[in-house]
Each structure stands twice: as structure tokens, then as C-alpha cells.
């Protein structure tokens, strides 16, 4: 029997955008990169780890279908298709103007839960631990609550065996192996390992695949069902005033020595 895995993947502003290229619209409460810097969006890094986790299960078990799911107001298809080029089977995009710049996780989780229900059967949902834009780390937990299934967050290894998901995770100094009955939600972190590069064969296959696109109406979601629970009052780039004292010397070694003397003078060592 085919194991159905859904991986959620969010299109985000590249988190490697240099600090100087961040632009904030304080009225609209939105963050963008400076258009002149021409920085392309990316799939949230932790979500790429999620795609990788799903594909590793597919490599091991063979009879696995991986569906990538995303929600947003607009998508850059070349960016999103990377998840297919890596080897995923299908893609479902919930695309609706009402999903513009959503920072309230309750809304995103409700939309994704409705999409999961419309997709139909699923055995495992894999998500990144958090999205690198709003850093909320709440959608996967909410998704598990809304779907009434177990959730294992922050894992670094995900295996499926006998209708169980078995995960490794490390929090602090504790190393754990946790299992849950399927269906379940699992979140992965960067420790899972580097996502694979798309192979030429998969890139060609992905080029022929058309994502399924649904609106909120297709999911039967009304505006009232998506009422926000949080309100952003302000959004800004914090000002930093450098007060760094640069320590120098005759050469680099001398600067190192002077740094030690300075720290002693300041009673720090």
C-alpha cells in the first residue's frame, strides 16, 4: 500500500539577504528585500530539509508518494518547482490574494489543514521546524491539533516502520528516539542534513508536472473562518549603534596581546 507523505513548503524571502538590503513597509507591516538587489525568493530552508526527509523515506520504502503543499498569495514557480526537481511526486498550491503577507500562524494552519483534508488520505506530514520569515514555529503544531494527530517536533532523522513513524531528536543534552502511530505530523531541523541537489532526470520530470492550484473558496474556507487572533502593531528594523573599540598593535599577534590587556583592564578576565 502506498505511503502518502505531504511535505509543507513555504516560499520566503532569502534569509541570506544582506542586512543592508532589508526593507520594511511599516504601514503594510511587511518585509521585502531591496528590489535593486534582485534577490530571488527561496523555499524555506527547513522545508527543504523536510522534502529531503520525505525523499529518504521514499528511497528506503519505494512505494511512497510525496506531495508538496504550500499556501500563499503568489508563487515564483521556478522556485517552488525545486521541491519537485528534488524528486517529489506532486505539488498542491493554495493560492489566494487573501493569503498575502500572513504572519498569524492560526490562519496558515487552518488553510493547510483544509488543504490536507481536500487532498484526502495522508500517512505522514513533514514540515520544517519554522519558516525563516516570521519564525513562528507554530503551523506544524497547529496542523497536528486541527487534524487530531500526534506531532513530533524538531527531529533530525525520520523513519517509517510498521505504521509507526520513528524519529530521532536532540534537545539540549538529551538524545531521544520517539515513535508515534501514523498518521502523524513531524517537523525537521537543519541537523537532518543537506537537501539533495535535483538530478537532470528529475528536473526534466518536474518541468512536465503541473501543480494543482486551489483558492480558499475551493477549500470551502470563508473569510470569517480565517479571522486573525493576533494583530501586528508595529514592524521595524532595530537600530544598532556601534560602540566597538578596535584593538590594534604592531602586528596581528600584538593586537591579540593588547586585547588580553584591555580585557584585564576592564576586569573581564
Amino acid at each position: 500500500m502506498t505511503l502518502n507523505i505531504i511535505v509543507t513548503a513555504k516560499q520566503v524571502m532569502d534569509p541570506e539577504t544582506p542586512a543592508t538590503a532589508y526593507r520594511v513597509d511599516r504601514e503594510k507591516k511587511r518585509v521585502d528585500s531591496d528590489p535593486s538587489a534582485r534577490i530571488a525568493p527561496v523555499i524555506n530552508g527547513f522545508d527543504e530539509n523536510g522534502v529531503e526527509a520525505a525523499l529518504r523515506i521514499k528511497d528506503a520504502l519505494k512505494d511512497v508518494k510525496v506531495t508538496v503543499l504550500s499556501a500563499g498569495a503568489a508563487f515564483t514557480m521556478d522556485v517552488m518547482k525545486k521541491a519537485l526537481s528534488m524528486g517529489s511526486d506532486e505539488m498542491v498550491l493554495v493560492q489566494d490574494p487573501a493569503l498575502e503577507n500572513i504572519s498569524d500562524s492560526t490562519i496558515t494552519a487552518k488553510v493547510l489543514a483544509a488543504a490536507v483534508k481536500k487532498i484526502g488520505s495522508f500517512d505522514l506530514i513533514i514540515t520544517g521546524r519554522q519558516a525563516s520569515d516570521w519564525d513562528n514555529a507554530q503551523v506544524p503544531l497547529g496542523l497536528a491539533e486541527l487534524l487530531g494527530v500526534p506531532c513530533i517536533p524538531l527531529t533530525r532523522k525520520v523513519d517509517v516502520k510498521d505504521r509507526q513513524v520513528v524519529c530521532e531528536r536532540v534537545t539540549g543534552n538529551v538524545h531521544e528516539v520517539i515513535s508515534a502511530q501514523l498518521p502523524a505530523v513531524v517537523t525537521v531541523s537543519n541537523e537532518l542534513g543537506t537537501p539533495r541537489y535535483p538530478t537532470l532526470r528529475n528536473i526534466m520530470a518536474a518541468a512536465r508536472k503541473q501543480p494543482t492550484i486551489w483558492s480558499l473558496g475551493d477549500l470551502g474556507l470563508s473569510a470569517a473562518a480565517l479571522a486573525p487572533k493576533l494583530k501586528m502593531l508595529d514592524l521595524f528594523i532595530p537600530k544598532k549603534q556601534s560602540q566597538c573599540e578596535m584593538i590594534t598593535g604592531e602586528d596581528e599577534a600584538d593586537a591579540g596581546k593588547n586585547l588580553a590587556l584591555k580585557l584585564r583592564e576592564a576586569k573581564l578576565v
Binding site: W134, K229, K231, M232, C244, D251, E252, L268
Partner: protein, 330 residues
């Protein structure tokens, strides 16, 4: 709608003692409760809470919900959630606070969904505004931006980052009430199982508690300095060793050394950073460091905006001389 009142902290207890982050949450909660002129309570969960309820009162709680059940012996998210949900439904707090960490970050959002409200994640600061609304300030976009967020749901909830405030001075003569709460949990609520659990012995100083931290980043060029120069310096200063996400991802050092948004939050008196550029997501884990010292080859590195003292130079030349001088002064 229930008449909501008071601030409820979801506390954490380990070995019959209150977790340090819970004492910090009590200080945040005390401030909110005082602005609301309403009581501060804390829910403590376990099979045996030991001295923790008394400690919680000494650190500022007016009331302790002592939630005990055999299924709460070890932390298990489904059992904790079921118990906390019952406490929150029965006592209808206006505000719920949790500490960011393995427990709060997992329980907080799920509790919010269960109560049909939302939680403000990762706050550095929380306050009550003139309309008695909870307002939180939090970093977003990897710490590159800050957002001020208010709660529209009930109860209003926040997850607060540890080390963003000091606990109140312990006062064992403070008065407070301890109320036993039995959630009568059924084993069927538990949906995930810990198959294996290994606690790695702490080597040297715990990163989160260290007064001095020495960290290395990609600029070190390889894993070797973590067992040589960085380790020598840390040993000399009695410091803990930290690392940037980049070097953890490269496998140069284990994840438990990672400082930052997706690693540990530290608050040392002195933070020495070698070969770390100072990306926002790293700085998100050390914003409470009192004095930052940066050694970086790139004189334009953003870390020099956050550092108090800096050396622009090759660590291979700077660090040995620095270590030698520190040793000479001992």
C-alpha cells in the same frame, strides 16, 4: 464568555525544583499581574513536585496549581497538554505565559490551538497596554526585524525567551496559596512514545549558564581549532564553548554547542567570538551577552556593530598571542 482574570505561568519542574526559566517567567508574570492589578498563578506539573510550589511562591506567585498525576512523572507532551488545558479551562486566566524551550515551544502553540486562541512567539519583552491587552515585542526574519504584536484571542498568550529578565529576589516569607489539582488523565491521551532517551553527560560548563563563552564560526576554516585554540582558551577562562550554525551544519562540532535562533540562548558576562560574522540568527541567541569581543579577519564584518571590543585580523595570529597573554596574567 468567561470572566477572565489573572496571569497564569506554565512552570517547569525538574527533580523537585523549579526550573530557572520558570523563575524568570514569574518575574515577567508579576509585572503583568501588577499592571492588571490581578493575581499571578503558576501551574506546576509532575508526579511529585517536591519543594517547587514553595519556591514558586518565594519567587512571586500568589497561587500555585499543583497538578499531579502518575502520567506526569516524565514530560510527555500529550499528557502535559491535556492537564494544562484542564487547568486553563477551569481557571480562565486572562494571560498565559510560557518559557521558550523544549517544553514551552511545544506546549504553547498546541495549547493555543486547543483553546482557540493564539500565542505570541519568542517575546523579548511583554507588557499590558491601556486596554488591558497583552503586547509582545519579538524578533522576526531571523532577527533582522522586530515586530510588536498584540493578542486578539482569549486567553492572551505569550512564549517568552529565557534570559530576557532577572528572577525576583527569593523571599521565603512571601504568602501564597497552593491548590492541588488532579487532572485524572487517561493513558489513551498519550499519542507518542519515547523509545529511547540518553542524557549526554555535561562536559565542562553548561553553555546556557556560563559566565564566559568562547565561540567559533566558519572563519576558523576547519574543525581542528575547536579541540585546540578554542578549547585551550575556554579551559583557561573556565568558559563554555559555543558555535555558529554554519559550523554545526558542517559537522565541526556537535549541535549542543550551537548558539542562535535555532540553537541555545546564552547570557554570559563575556562572549568571545572568533571567526563569526554576526548574522542576525546567531545574534538572536546572544543578545543578552554583556560584553562581546570579536576577532574577525573582515574589518567590515557586521559583528563589529554588536561587539564592544574587536580585533580585525587573522585568528591564527591573534588568538595564540591572546591566549599566551591571558595565561601570563593568571
Amino acid at each position: 464568555m468567561a470572566d477572565r482574570q489573572g496571569v497564569l505561568v506554565i512552570g517547569e519542574v525538574a527533580n523537585g525544583k523549579l526550573n530557572p526559566s520558570s523563575t524568570e517567567m514569574l518575574a515577567h508574570g508579576r509585572k503583568l499581574a501588577d499592571s492588571l492589578k490581578e493575581p499571578l498563578s503558576i501551574a506546576l506539573l509532575g508526579q511529585d513536585l517536591g519543594a517547587a510550589p514553595k519556591e514558586a511562591i518565594a519567587f512571586g506567585a500568589d497561587k500555585v496549581h499543583a497538578v499531579t498525576d502518575p502520567l506526569l512523572k516524565e514530560y510527555q507532551v500529550d499528557a502535559y497538554l491535556a492537564a494544562i488545558t484542564k487547568v486553563a479551562q477551569q481557571h480562565t486566566p486572562r494571560v498565559v505565559l510560557l518559557a521558550k524551550g523544549p517544553i514551552g515551544s511545544e506546549v504553547g502553540p498546541r495549547l493555543a490551538f486547543r483553546l482557540d486562541t493564539a500565542v505570541i512567539q519568542d517575546c523579548l519583552e511583554v507588557r499590558i497596554d491601556a486596554e488591558k491587552k497583552l503586547v509582545g515585542n519579538r524578533p522576526v526574519y531571523g532577527g533582522n526585524c522586530m515586530a510588536t504584536i498584540t493578542s486578539l484571542g482569549e486567553p492572551m498568550m505569550a512564549i517568552v525567551r529565557p534570559k530576557t529578565g532577572d528572577p525576583l529576589a527569593r523571599n521565603d516569607s512571601r504568602h501564597g496559596e497552593v491548590v492541588a489539582f488532579s487532572p485524572r488523565l487517561e493513558a489513551s491521551v498519550i499519542k507518542s512514545r519515547v523509545v529511547e532517551r540518553v542524557e549526554k553527560a555535561q562536559e565542562g560548563v553548561r553553555l546556557e549558564d556560563a559566565a564566559i563563552v568562547v565561540s567559533g564560526g566558519r572563519g576558523l576554516g576547519s574543525a581542528a581549532p575547536f579541540t585546540n585554540e578554542i578549547k585551550d582558551l575556554a579551559d583557561l577562562l573556565g568558559a563554555a564553548i559555543g558555535a555558529s550554525r554554519a559550523v554545526v551544519d558542517s559537522g565541526w562540532i556537535s549541535h549542543d554547542h550551537q548558539v542562535g535562533l535555532t540553537g541555545k540562548t546564552i547570557a554570559p558576562n563575556l562572549y568571545i567570538m572568533v571567526g563569526i560574522s554576526g548574522a542576525s540568527q546567531h545574534m538572536a541567541g546572544c543578545s543578552a551577552a554583556k560584553v562581546i569581543v570579536a576577532i574577525n579577519r573582515d574589518s567590515d564584518a557586521v559583528i563589529f556593530n554588536d561587539a564592544r571590543y574587536g580585533v580585525a585580523g587573522d585568528w591564527k595570529k591573534v588568538l595564540p598571542a591572546f591566549i599566551q597573554q591571558i595565561r601570563a596574567m593568571k
